[in-house]
């Protein structure tokens, strides 16, 4: 049956990037900035969340492998989001004299990265613009050379615009399940448009939206 098929191309547009680059948070123990890349992705693509952390003078935070609370990014699970592992840089060895023990820590600036994948939009809302809000936290325990501060959980939150576009079918029609079709002209056009941020989106870091 010669019919028009609708192919949905979902484009996830992250927020304005100047704002992302400067999204920095300053706590008593460290400074950190959060960025998300790439700026525009299609459903199924990998998004990299990068957190650059600079401990303040004399402060250290614990790294994975420590018996204490290592710094970590946590993301609240949601059906459309696949959450990957966090990658950590090599830690320093810190000798804690009072307990005569060595622990892996970060005292100098370091970077954490996490991969995320945004899945398909629910069929009921396909065809409509939507957003996805990703929420999580940067959790850490900071100590200096005399005290340990209470463990912190700094909220992270950002919203990405998800746009949906209806695309005309190729002549001769296309299977209703477009995921098995060869790329249509509409698909090709849509892919060319991926580099365009179609709508502004908001991204709030460290609970800034609250």
């Amino acid at each position: 049956m010669a019919s028009a098929a609708v192919t949905l191309m979902l484009t996830v547009a992250t927020a304005s990037l100047a704002a992302q680059a400067s999204a920095t948070r300053d706590t008593k123990h460290l400074k950190f900035s959060v960025s998300v890349a790439p700026r525009v992705v299609s459903v199924g693509d990998r998004i990299t969340l990068t957190v650059d952390v600079s401990p303040k003078p004399r402060m250290h935070v614990y790294a994975p492998g420590s018996k204490y609370r290592p710094i970590k990014i946590t993301i609240e699970p949601q059906p459309r989001l696949t959450i990957g592992e966090t990658t950590y840089p090599r830690a320093e060895s810190y000798y804690f004299k009072p307990l005569k023990e060595t622990q892996p820590v970060y005292q100098a600036p370091f970077r954490l990265q996490m991969g995320l994948t945004v899945g398909a939009i629910e069929p009921s809302s396909a065809g409509a613009d939507s957003t996805i809000t990703i929420a999580g936290a940067l959790d850490y325990q900071a100590c200096d050379d005399r005290v340990c501060y209470l463990p912190e959980s700094i909220p992270l939150r950002w919203t990405m615009k998800v746009t949906a576009r209806h695309v005309a079918a190729l002549e001769g029609g296309a299977p209703s399940d477009s995921s098995h079709a060869r790329p249509s002209r509409g698909d090709r056009e849509a892919h060319r448009d991926r580099s365009v941020i179609t709508a502004p989106a908001r991204r709030d870091v460290a609970g800034g939206s609250r």
Partner: protein, 163 residues
């Protein structure tokens, strides 16, 4: 006397009638918290001739450095009027407490607090301790740990106990 002067005197009189804020600050804020066994204990329940209240959590490195000495102080003076309580402030570490006590041989009573409790005491670091007299007045307080702090603490306790 003008109306303005009368108003000024009234304001002065009101200020004189207010409680002395510094005196109020010296009184340790009361609490009512559960033990690991679920029994509620209040500040008045734990007050001894002298009482040491320590805020901690089990994975706090400096708490772990300080507590063996603090336990020894408790063992040495508990029969001479020293009361002591350790208040955990990280709720998701409550399940660590019993094995942690067993591993280190700690017998100081532990009470279960949380972050709001910590905030209500303006607590930002651990270990933080308060030494109280028999009426719950704060004799001294200290945050953090470095080698030798335990000697200063013991001196303060002995003085408070009149030893």
């Amino acid at each position: 006397m003008t109306a303005g002067t009368r108003l000024l005197w009234a304001a002065v009189a009101c200020l004189l009638l207010l409680p002395n804020p510094s005196a109020a600050a010296d009184k340790f804020k009361p609490f009512a918290l559960k033990t690991l066994g679920g029994t509620e204990r209040s500040l008045s329940d734990v007050l001894g001739k002298t009482t040491l209240v320590v805020f901690f959590y089990p994975t706090c490195p400096y708490c772990n450095a300080a507590f063996p000495s603090v336990q020894k102080i408790y063992d040495s003076y508990k029969d001479r009027g020293l009361s002591m309580v350790w208040i955990n402030v990280i709720t998701n570490e409550e399940n660590l407490i019993a094995p942690w006590q067993k591993e280190h041989g700690y017998t100081v009573p532990v009470l279960l607090g949380d972050r709001p409790l910590a905030a209500s005491y303006n607590l930002r670091m651990t270990p933080t301790h308060y030494l109280l007299d028999a009426k719950g007045q704060v004799i001294s307080s200290h945050a953090g740990y470095k080698a030798g702090d335990e000697k200063e603490l013991e001196r303060s306790i002995r003085k408070a106990l009149g030893i």
